[in-house]
Symmetry: C2
Subunit: 252 residues, 2 copies
Protein backbone atom coordinates (compact mmCIF):
# COMPACT_ATOMS: atom_id res chain seq x y z
CA UNK A 1 0.00 0.00 0.00
CA UNK A 2 1.32 3.44 -0.94
CA UNK A 3 0.32 5.94 1.76
CA UNK A 4 0.66 9.73 1.58
CA UNK A 5 0.74 11.47 4.96
CA UNK A 6 -0.04 15.13 5.50
CA UNK A 7 -1.43 17.38 8.24
CA UNK A 8 -2.09 20.99 9.20
CA UNK A 9 0.11 21.27 12.28
CA UNK A 10 3.18 21.21 10.03
CA UNK A 11 5.81 18.63 9.12
CA UNK A 12 7.69 19.11 12.42
CA UNK A 13 4.63 18.44 14.62
CA UNK A 14 4.70 15.38 16.91
CA UNK A 15 1.33 14.15 15.58
CA UNK A 16 2.61 13.50 12.06
CA UNK A 17 5.63 11.69 13.49
CA UNK A 18 3.32 9.46 15.55
CA UNK A 19 1.23 8.76 12.46
CA UNK A 20 4.32 7.92 10.41
CA UNK A 21 5.52 5.42 13.03
CA UNK A 22 2.05 3.86 13.19
CA UNK A 23 1.72 3.07 9.48
CA UNK A 24 5.31 2.81 8.21
CA UNK A 25 5.28 -1.01 8.04
CA UNK A 26 2.06 -1.05 5.96
CA UNK A 27 3.86 -0.14 2.75
CA UNK A 28 5.58 2.76 1.05
CA UNK A 29 5.07 5.99 3.00
CA UNK A 30 5.47 9.54 1.63
CA UNK A 31 5.24 12.61 3.85
CA UNK A 32 4.25 15.94 2.24
CA UNK A 33 3.04 18.57 4.71
CA UNK A 34 3.08 22.31 5.37
CA UNK A 35 6.37 23.70 6.66
CA UNK A 36 4.56 25.66 9.40
CA UNK A 37 1.35 25.36 11.40
CA UNK A 38 -1.76 25.96 9.26
CA UNK A 39 -4.56 25.40 11.75
CA UNK A 40 -8.02 26.78 10.87
CA UNK A 41 -7.01 27.56 7.29
CA UNK A 42 -10.08 25.73 5.99
CA UNK A 43 -9.82 24.68 2.38
CA UNK A 44 -7.44 27.47 1.39
CA UNK A 45 -5.21 27.02 -1.65
CA UNK A 46 -2.34 29.18 -2.86
CA UNK A 47 -2.98 30.72 -6.28
CA UNK A 48 -1.48 34.22 -5.96
CA UNK A 49 1.96 33.18 -4.71
CA UNK A 50 4.49 30.57 -5.74
CA UNK A 51 4.72 27.47 -3.56
CA UNK A 52 8.19 26.54 -2.30
CA UNK A 53 9.24 23.09 -1.16
CA UNK A 54 12.09 21.77 1.01
CA UNK A 55 13.39 18.31 1.76
CA UNK A 56 13.19 17.51 5.47
CA UNK A 57 15.49 15.00 7.22
CA UNK A 58 15.03 13.23 10.53
CA UNK A 59 18.27 12.03 12.13
CA UNK A 60 20.04 12.03 8.74
CA UNK A 61 17.25 10.02 7.05
CA UNK A 62 14.93 11.62 4.47
CA UNK A 63 11.54 12.18 6.12
CA UNK A 64 9.48 14.15 3.59
CA UNK A 65 8.72 17.32 1.67
CA UNK A 66 7.87 20.54 3.52
CA UNK A 67 5.53 22.76 1.51
CA UNK A 68 5.34 26.55 1.87
CA UNK A 69 1.56 26.47 1.65
CA UNK A 70 -1.64 25.01 3.05
CA UNK A 71 -2.69 21.39 3.72
CA UNK A 72 -4.75 21.37 0.49
CA UNK A 73 -1.71 22.73 -1.42
CA UNK A 74 0.45 19.97 0.06
CA UNK A 75 -1.84 17.16 -1.09
CA UNK A 76 -2.40 18.68 -4.55
CA UNK A 77 1.33 19.26 -5.05
CA UNK A 78 2.26 15.79 -3.77
CA UNK A 79 -0.16 13.95 -6.06
CA UNK A 80 0.21 16.18 -9.14
CA UNK A 81 3.93 17.03 -9.04
CA UNK A 82 6.18 15.71 -6.24
CA UNK A 83 5.46 11.96 -6.14
CA UNK A 84 6.28 9.62 -9.00
CA UNK A 85 3.39 7.32 -8.08
CA UNK A 86 -0.26 7.74 -7.10
CA UNK A 87 -1.04 7.04 -3.42
CA UNK A 88 -3.54 4.30 -2.56
CA UNK A 89 -4.48 6.11 0.66
CA UNK A 90 -4.03 9.58 2.14
CA UNK A 91 -4.00 10.08 5.91
CA UNK A 92 -4.02 13.58 7.42
CA UNK A 93 -3.04 14.08 11.06
CA UNK A 94 -2.74 13.23 13.83
CA UNK A 95 -4.17 16.64 14.69
CA UNK A 96 -3.68 18.11 18.14
CA UNK A 97 -7.28 18.97 19.05
CA UNK A 98 -10.62 17.66 17.79
CA UNK A 99 -12.15 18.35 14.37
CA UNK A 100 -15.79 17.63 15.14
CA UNK A 101 -19.06 19.55 14.76
CA UNK A 102 -18.76 22.89 13.00
CA UNK A 103 -14.95 22.80 13.43
CA UNK A 104 -14.87 20.51 10.39
CA UNK A 105 -15.42 23.45 8.04
CA UNK A 106 -12.48 25.41 9.51
CA UNK A 107 -10.17 22.41 9.67
CA UNK A 108 -6.95 22.23 7.71
CA UNK A 109 -6.58 18.57 8.74
CA UNK A 110 -9.90 17.68 7.12
CA UNK A 111 -9.14 19.83 4.06
CA UNK A 112 -6.06 17.72 3.25
CA UNK A 113 -8.28 14.63 3.22
CA UNK A 114 -10.96 16.49 1.23
CA UNK A 115 -8.38 17.36 -1.40
CA UNK A 116 -7.31 13.71 -1.60
CA UNK A 117 -10.94 12.70 -2.07
CA UNK A 118 -11.44 15.26 -4.85
CA UNK A 119 -8.39 13.73 -6.53
CA UNK A 120 -10.13 10.34 -6.33
CA UNK A 121 -7.92 8.81 -3.61
CA UNK A 122 -9.40 7.20 -0.44
CA UNK A 123 -8.60 9.64 2.37
CA UNK A 124 -8.89 9.90 6.13
CA UNK A 125 -8.41 12.73 8.62
CA UNK A 126 -7.54 11.83 12.21
CA UNK A 127 -7.55 14.11 15.26
CA UNK A 128 -7.18 13.69 19.00
CA UNK A 129 -9.70 15.21 21.37
CA UNK A 130 -7.31 17.33 23.44
CA UNK A 131 -4.94 20.23 23.03
CA UNK A 132 -2.87 19.11 26.02
CA UNK A 133 -1.06 15.89 27.01
CA UNK A 134 -2.16 13.95 23.93
CA UNK A 135 -2.22 10.11 24.02
CA UNK A 136 -0.53 9.79 20.62
CA UNK A 137 -0.22 6.03 21.10
CA UNK A 138 -4.00 5.54 21.19
CA UNK A 139 -4.64 7.64 18.09
CA UNK A 140 -1.75 5.89 16.31
CA UNK A 141 -3.28 2.46 16.93
CA UNK A 142 -6.65 3.74 15.65
CA UNK A 143 -5.03 5.29 12.54
CA UNK A 144 -3.30 2.03 11.68
CA UNK A 145 -6.44 -0.03 12.23
CA UNK A 146 -8.63 2.24 10.08
CA UNK A 147 -6.00 2.44 7.32
CA UNK A 148 -6.25 -1.35 7.07
CA UNK A 149 -10.08 -1.17 7.14
CA UNK A 150 -10.08 1.33 4.26
CA UNK A 151 -7.67 -0.92 2.35
CA UNK A 152 -10.13 -3.81 2.85
CA UNK A 153 -13.48 -2.01 2.32
CA UNK A 154 -12.64 1.14 0.38
CA UNK A 155 -14.68 4.29 1.04
CA UNK A 156 -17.98 5.45 -0.50
CA UNK A 157 -17.60 7.63 -3.62
CA UNK A 158 -16.60 11.28 -3.03
CA UNK A 159 -16.43 10.60 0.72
CA UNK A 160 -13.63 10.86 3.26
CA UNK A 161 -13.49 9.42 6.75
CA UNK A 162 -13.19 12.04 9.49
CA UNK A 163 -11.90 10.30 12.61
CA UNK A 164 -11.76 11.79 16.10
CA UNK A 165 -10.13 9.85 18.93
CA UNK A 166 -10.85 10.39 22.64
CA UNK A 167 -7.73 11.39 24.58
CA UNK A 168 -7.66 8.22 26.66
CA UNK A 169 -5.35 5.23 27.13
CA UNK A 170 -6.21 2.54 24.59
CA UNK A 171 -7.83 0.19 27.11
CA UNK A 172 -10.31 2.92 28.13
CA UNK A 173 -11.66 3.42 24.58
CA UNK A 174 -15.26 2.13 24.52
CA UNK A 175 -15.35 1.26 20.82
CA UNK A 176 -15.96 2.75 17.37
CA UNK A 177 -19.04 4.81 16.49
CA UNK A 178 -20.21 5.80 12.99
CA UNK A 179 -21.46 9.35 13.47
CA UNK A 180 -22.78 12.47 11.77
CA UNK A 181 -21.24 15.94 12.01
CA UNK A 182 -22.84 17.52 15.09
CA UNK A 183 -24.78 20.75 14.67
CA UNK A 184 -22.90 23.34 16.64
CA UNK A 185 -21.45 26.82 16.52
CA UNK A 186 -18.66 28.82 18.08
CA UNK A 187 -19.74 31.45 20.54
CA UNK A 188 -17.18 34.06 19.57
CA UNK A 189 -15.49 36.45 21.89
CA UNK A 190 -13.31 39.16 20.39
CA UNK A 191 -10.78 40.53 22.85
CA UNK A 192 -10.22 44.18 21.86
CA UNK A 193 -6.76 45.59 22.62
CA UNK A 194 -4.68 48.62 21.75
CA UNK A 195 -1.05 48.36 20.61
CA UNK A 196 1.71 50.68 21.95
CA UNK A 197 1.04 53.06 19.04
CA UNK A 198 -2.68 53.34 19.80
CA UNK A 199 -3.94 51.04 17.03
CA UNK A 200 -6.85 48.74 17.80
CA UNK A 201 -6.59 45.00 17.23
CA UNK A 202 -8.62 41.93 18.18
CA UNK A 203 -7.90 38.37 19.29
CA UNK A 204 -10.51 35.82 18.26
CA UNK A 205 -11.54 33.32 20.89
CA UNK A 206 -14.63 31.22 21.45
CA UNK A 207 -16.19 28.06 22.77
CA UNK A 208 -18.06 25.38 20.85
CA UNK A 209 -21.76 25.13 21.63
CA UNK A 210 -23.80 22.08 20.55
CA UNK A 211 -27.14 22.79 18.89
CA UNK A 212 -30.21 20.62 18.50
CA UNK A 213 -30.23 16.84 18.74
CA UNK A 214 -26.80 15.45 19.71
CA UNK A 215 -27.59 11.76 19.23
CA UNK A 216 -25.11 9.86 17.05
CA UNK A 217 -22.96 12.95 16.48
CA UNK A 218 -19.18 13.10 16.45
CA UNK A 219 -19.19 15.36 19.53
CA UNK A 220 -21.42 12.95 21.42
CA UNK A 221 -19.24 9.93 20.58
CA UNK A 222 -16.12 11.69 21.86
CA UNK A 223 -17.81 12.70 25.11
CA UNK A 224 -18.76 9.09 25.69
CA UNK A 225 -15.31 7.64 25.02
CA UNK A 226 -15.88 6.29 21.51
CA UNK A 227 -13.71 6.77 18.42
CA UNK A 228 -15.90 8.85 16.07
CA UNK A 229 -15.95 8.00 12.34
CA UNK A 230 -17.90 10.48 10.20
CA UNK A 231 -18.36 10.10 6.42
CA UNK A 232 -17.75 13.60 5.05
CA UNK A 233 -18.23 14.85 1.50
CA UNK A 234 -18.15 18.13 -0.34
CA UNK A 235 -21.51 18.34 -2.09
CA UNK A 236 -22.78 21.33 -0.15
CA UNK A 237 -26.18 21.49 -1.87
CA UNK A 238 -29.06 21.48 0.59
CA UNK A 239 -31.29 19.25 -1.55
CA UNK A 240 -34.26 19.74 0.80
CA UNK A 241 -34.21 23.47 0.12
CA UNK A 242 -34.59 23.20 -3.67
CA UNK A 243 -38.44 23.03 -3.81
CA UNK A 244 -38.88 26.08 -1.55
CA UNK A 245 -36.57 28.22 -3.66
CA UNK A 246 -38.38 27.16 -6.84
CA UNK A 247 -41.54 28.77 -5.44
CA UNK A 248 -40.00 32.26 -5.60
CA UNK A 249 -41.65 34.24 -8.35
CA UNK A 250 -38.60 35.43 -10.26
CA UNK A 251 -40.04 35.46 -13.78
CA UNK A 252 -42.29 38.44 -13.13
Amino acid sequence: MKILISNDDGIYAPGIRALYQAVRDLGEIDVVAPIAEQSAVGHAITLSNPIKTNRVYNGGEFFGHAVGGTPADSVKLAVCALLDHRPDLIVSGINLGPNAGISVIYSGTVSAATEGTILGIPSMAISINSFKNPCWDTAAVVARRLALMIQQHGLPEDTLLNVNVPNLPLDQIKGYAVTRMGRSRFVEVFDRRTDPRGNVYYWMDGALEQLGDTEQTDLDALENGYVSMTPIWFDLTNQKALPDLRKWNLDA
Copy 2:
Protein backbone atom coordinates in the same frame (compact mmCIF):
# COMPACT_ATOMS: atom_id res chain seq x y z
CA MET B 1 -33.34 46.41 6.38
CA LYS B 2 -29.82 46.36 7.88
CA ILE B 3 -27.42 44.85 5.35
CA LEU B 4 -23.81 43.84 5.98
CA ILE B 5 -21.63 43.67 2.88
CA SER B 6 -18.38 41.74 2.63
CA ASN B 7 -16.32 39.97 -0.02
CA ASP B 8 -13.02 38.20 -0.67
CA ASP B 9 -11.54 40.48 -3.33
CA GLY B 10 -10.95 43.14 -0.66
CA ILE B 11 -12.65 46.36 0.36
CA TYR B 12 -11.07 48.31 -2.52
CA ALA B 13 -12.35 45.93 -5.24
CA PRO B 14 -14.81 47.29 -7.82
CA GLY B 15 -17.27 44.44 -7.17
CA ILE B 16 -18.00 45.48 -3.58
CA ARG B 17 -18.48 49.08 -4.71
CA ALA B 18 -20.99 47.93 -7.35
CA LEU B 19 -22.81 45.86 -4.71
CA TYR B 20 -22.90 48.82 -2.31
CA GLN B 21 -24.43 51.07 -4.97
CA ALA B 22 -27.01 48.41 -5.84
CA VAL B 23 -28.42 47.96 -2.34
CA ARG B 24 -27.70 51.26 -0.56
CA ASP B 25 -31.28 52.54 -0.83
CA LEU B 26 -32.69 49.33 0.70
CA GLY B 27 -31.76 50.37 4.24
CA GLU B 28 -28.76 50.77 6.51
CA ILE B 29 -25.61 49.38 4.87
CA ASP B 30 -22.39 48.38 6.66
CA VAL B 31 -19.26 47.35 4.79
CA VAL B 32 -16.73 45.11 6.58
CA ALA B 33 -14.30 43.35 4.27
CA PRO B 34 -10.69 42.15 4.03
CA ILE B 35 -8.12 44.86 3.44
CA ALA B 36 -6.46 42.80 0.67
CA GLU B 37 -7.48 40.14 -1.82
CA GLN B 38 -8.27 36.80 -0.13
CA SER B 39 -9.34 34.64 -3.05
CA ALA B 40 -9.30 30.86 -2.59
CA VAL B 41 -8.82 31.11 1.17
CA GLY B 42 -11.75 28.78 1.76
CA HIS B 43 -13.19 28.98 5.24
CA ALA B 44 -9.95 30.13 6.89
CA ILE B 45 -10.12 32.04 10.17
CA THR B 46 -7.33 33.83 12.05
CA LEU B 47 -6.64 32.32 15.47
CA SER B 48 -2.85 32.55 15.77
CA ASN B 49 -2.51 36.25 14.97
CA PRO B 50 -4.27 39.41 16.07
CA ILE B 51 -6.75 40.94 13.63
CA LYS B 52 -6.28 44.63 12.83
CA THR B 53 -8.97 46.93 11.48
CA ASN B 54 -8.92 50.27 9.65
CA ARG B 55 -11.61 52.76 8.73
CA VAL B 56 -11.85 53.26 4.96
CA TYR B 57 -13.16 56.45 3.34
CA ASN B 58 -14.42 56.99 -0.19
CA GLY B 59 -14.26 60.60 -1.40
CA GLY B 60 -14.21 61.86 2.18
CA GLU B 61 -17.26 59.79 3.21
CA PHE B 62 -16.92 56.80 5.58
CA PHE B 63 -17.24 53.62 3.48
CA GLY B 64 -16.49 50.75 5.87
CA HIS B 65 -14.08 48.74 7.99
CA ALA B 66 -11.08 47.04 6.40
CA VAL B 67 -10.06 43.86 8.25
CA GLY B 68 -6.56 42.41 8.31
CA GLY B 69 -7.89 38.89 7.93
CA THR B 70 -10.07 36.56 5.90
CA PRO B 71 -13.68 36.91 4.68
CA ALA B 72 -14.89 34.66 7.52
CA ASP B 73 -12.93 36.81 10.02
CA SER B 74 -14.56 39.94 8.59
CA VAL B 75 -18.11 38.66 9.07
CA LYS B 76 -17.43 37.24 12.55
CA LEU B 77 -15.74 40.44 13.67
CA ALA B 78 -18.47 42.65 12.18
CA VAL B 79 -21.32 40.79 13.85
CA CYS B 80 -19.62 40.03 17.18
CA ALA B 81 -17.61 43.23 17.75
CA LEU B 82 -17.66 46.06 15.20
CA LEU B 83 -21.36 46.69 14.57
CA ASP B 84 -23.72 47.96 17.26
CA HIS B 85 -26.66 46.16 15.63
CA ARG B 86 -27.32 42.74 14.16
CA PRO B 87 -27.64 42.65 10.34
CA ASP B 88 -30.88 41.35 8.80
CA LEU B 89 -29.01 40.21 5.71
CA ILE B 90 -25.39 39.57 4.70
CA VAL B 91 -24.31 39.83 1.05
CA SER B 92 -20.82 38.77 -0.04
CA GLY B 93 -19.47 39.89 -3.40
CA ILE B 94 -19.73 40.77 -6.17
CA ASN B 95 -16.89 38.36 -6.86
CA LEU B 96 -14.82 38.67 -10.01
CA GLY B 97 -15.05 35.12 -11.37
CA PRO B 98 -17.57 32.31 -10.79
CA ASN B 99 -17.96 30.28 -7.59
CA ALA B 100 -19.70 27.24 -8.98
CA GLY B 101 -19.06 23.49 -8.91
CA ILE B 102 -16.12 22.40 -6.76
CA SER B 103 -14.88 26.04 -6.60
CA VAL B 104 -17.47 26.58 -3.86
CA ILE B 105 -15.28 24.81 -1.31
CA TYR B 106 -12.25 27.03 -2.08
CA SER B 107 -14.28 30.23 -2.22
CA GLY B 108 -13.70 33.08 0.20
CA THR B 109 -16.82 34.79 -1.17
CA VAL B 110 -18.97 31.84 -0.18
CA SER B 111 -17.21 31.46 3.19
CA ALA B 112 -18.29 34.98 4.21
CA ALA B 113 -21.91 33.97 3.55
CA THR B 114 -21.36 30.62 5.30
CA GLU B 115 -20.11 32.44 8.38
CA GLY B 116 -23.20 34.67 8.34
CA THR B 117 -25.41 31.59 8.13
CA ILE B 118 -23.61 29.95 11.06
CA LEU B 119 -24.31 33.14 13.02
CA GLY B 120 -28.01 32.72 12.17
CA ILE B 121 -28.29 35.59 9.67
CA PRO B 122 -29.76 35.10 6.15
CA SER B 123 -26.78 35.32 3.78
CA MET B 124 -26.07 35.37 0.07
CA ALA B 125 -22.86 35.09 -1.99
CA ILE B 126 -22.85 36.58 -5.47
CA SER B 127 -20.26 36.13 -8.22
CA ILE B 128 -19.95 37.03 -11.88
CA ASN B 129 -18.98 34.40 -14.45
CA SER B 130 -15.91 36.13 -15.87
CA PHE B 131 -12.48 37.28 -14.78
CA LYS B 132 -12.39 39.93 -17.52
CA ASN B 133 -14.64 42.84 -18.55
CA PRO B 134 -17.29 42.14 -15.91
CA CYS B 135 -20.86 43.43 -16.45
CA TRP B 136 -21.15 44.75 -12.89
CA ASP B 137 -24.47 46.38 -13.72
CA THR B 138 -26.15 43.05 -14.45
CA ALA B 139 -24.88 41.41 -11.27
CA ALA B 140 -25.86 44.50 -9.26
CA VAL B 141 -29.46 44.32 -10.49
CA VAL B 142 -29.56 40.60 -9.61
CA ALA B 143 -28.06 41.24 -6.14
CA ARG B 144 -30.68 43.89 -5.39
CA ARG B 145 -33.53 41.73 -6.64
CA LEU B 146 -32.48 38.67 -4.62
CA ALA B 147 -31.86 40.76 -1.48
CA LEU B 148 -35.52 41.81 -1.70
CA MET B 149 -36.59 38.19 -2.33
CA ILE B 150 -34.71 37.02 0.77
CA GLN B 151 -36.32 39.82 2.78
CA GLN B 152 -39.72 38.58 1.59
CA HIS B 153 -39.24 34.79 1.79
CA GLY B 154 -36.32 34.27 4.18
CA LEU B 155 -33.97 31.36 3.57
CA PRO B 156 -34.21 27.71 4.69
CA GLU B 157 -32.54 26.97 8.05
CA ASP B 158 -28.72 26.71 8.04
CA THR B 159 -28.72 27.50 4.30
CA LEU B 160 -27.16 30.30 2.27
CA LEU B 161 -27.91 31.29 -1.29
CA ASN B 162 -24.94 30.97 -3.66
CA VAL B 163 -25.65 33.10 -6.72
CA ASN B 164 -23.67 33.10 -9.96
CA VAL B 165 -24.50 35.58 -12.71
CA PRO B 166 -23.65 35.14 -16.41
CA ASN B 167 -21.41 37.90 -17.72
CA LEU B 168 -24.01 39.30 -20.12
CA PRO B 169 -25.93 42.52 -20.53
CA LEU B 170 -29.13 42.38 -18.47
CA ASP B 171 -31.45 41.95 -21.46
CA GLN B 172 -29.57 38.82 -22.54
CA ILE B 173 -30.09 36.99 -19.21
CA LYS B 174 -32.48 34.08 -19.86
CA GLY B 175 -33.90 33.91 -16.32
CA TYR B 176 -33.26 32.45 -12.86
CA ALA B 177 -32.48 28.77 -12.23
CA VAL B 178 -32.50 26.96 -8.87
CA THR B 179 -29.54 24.62 -9.14
CA ARG B 180 -27.34 22.14 -7.33
CA MET B 181 -23.56 22.40 -6.93
CA GLY B 182 -22.13 20.69 -10.02
CA ARG B 183 -19.82 17.71 -9.58
CA SER B 184 -16.48 18.80 -10.94
CA ARG B 185 -12.76 18.94 -10.24
CA PHE B 186 -9.76 21.01 -11.10
CA VAL B 187 -7.29 19.36 -13.41
CA GLU B 188 -4.18 20.77 -11.77
CA VAL B 189 -1.03 21.78 -13.53
CA PHE B 190 1.97 22.72 -11.39
CA ASP B 191 4.44 24.87 -13.30
CA ARG B 192 7.89 24.03 -11.84
CA ARG B 193 10.43 26.83 -11.90
CA THR B 194 13.81 27.66 -10.38
CA ASP B 195 14.58 30.99 -8.71
CA PRO B 196 17.86 32.93 -9.35
CA ARG B 197 19.42 31.15 -6.33
CA GLY B 198 18.56 27.68 -7.66
CA ASN B 199 15.57 26.99 -5.38
CA VAL B 200 12.60 25.15 -6.84
CA TYR B 201 9.11 26.62 -6.63
CA TYR B 202 5.74 25.87 -8.21
CA TRP B 203 2.83 27.90 -9.57
CA MET B 204 -0.56 26.23 -9.23
CA ASP B 205 -2.82 26.42 -12.25
CA GLY B 206 -5.70 24.34 -13.50
CA ALA B 207 -8.94 24.10 -15.40
CA LEU B 208 -12.35 23.06 -14.09
CA GLU B 209 -13.66 19.77 -15.49
CA GLN B 210 -17.33 18.82 -15.05
CA LEU B 211 -18.03 15.28 -13.87
CA GLY B 212 -21.13 13.13 -14.18
CA ASP B 213 -24.61 14.42 -14.84
CA THR B 214 -24.63 18.19 -15.41
CA GLU B 215 -28.40 18.69 -15.47
CA GLN B 216 -29.71 21.43 -13.17
CA THR B 217 -26.21 22.30 -11.93
CA ASP B 218 -24.83 25.78 -11.30
CA LEU B 219 -22.24 25.31 -14.06
CA ASP B 220 -24.92 24.27 -16.54
CA ALA B 221 -27.16 27.26 -15.71
CA LEU B 222 -24.29 29.69 -16.29
CA GLU B 223 -23.41 28.10 -19.63
CA ASN B 224 -26.99 28.55 -20.76
CA GLY B 225 -27.29 32.19 -19.73
CA TYR B 226 -29.29 31.75 -16.51
CA VAL B 227 -28.61 33.26 -13.10
CA SER B 228 -27.76 30.26 -10.89
CA MET B 229 -29.15 30.11 -7.33
CA THR B 230 -27.82 27.20 -5.25
CA PRO B 231 -28.92 26.50 -1.66
CA ILE B 232 -25.66 25.70 0.19
CA TRP B 233 -25.23 24.44 3.72
CA PHE B 234 -22.44 23.17 5.91
CA ASP B 235 -23.61 19.78 7.12
CA LEU B 236 -20.93 17.78 5.35
CA THR B 237 -22.16 14.37 6.53
CA ASN B 238 -22.73 11.95 3.66
CA GLN B 239 -25.87 10.40 5.17
CA LYS B 240 -26.03 7.75 2.44
CA ALA B 241 -22.63 6.42 3.54
CA LEU B 242 -23.58 5.74 7.15
CA PRO B 243 -25.03 2.21 6.66
CA ASP B 244 -21.99 0.99 4.70
CA LEU B 245 -19.57 2.18 7.37
CA ARG B 246 -21.62 0.51 10.08
CA LYS B 247 -20.96 -2.85 8.38
CA TRP B 248 -17.23 -2.64 9.13
CA ASN B 249 -16.33 -5.17 11.81
CA LEU B 250 -14.50 -2.96 14.30
CA ASP B 251 -15.49 -4.70 17.52
CA ALA B 252 -13.38 -7.74 16.81
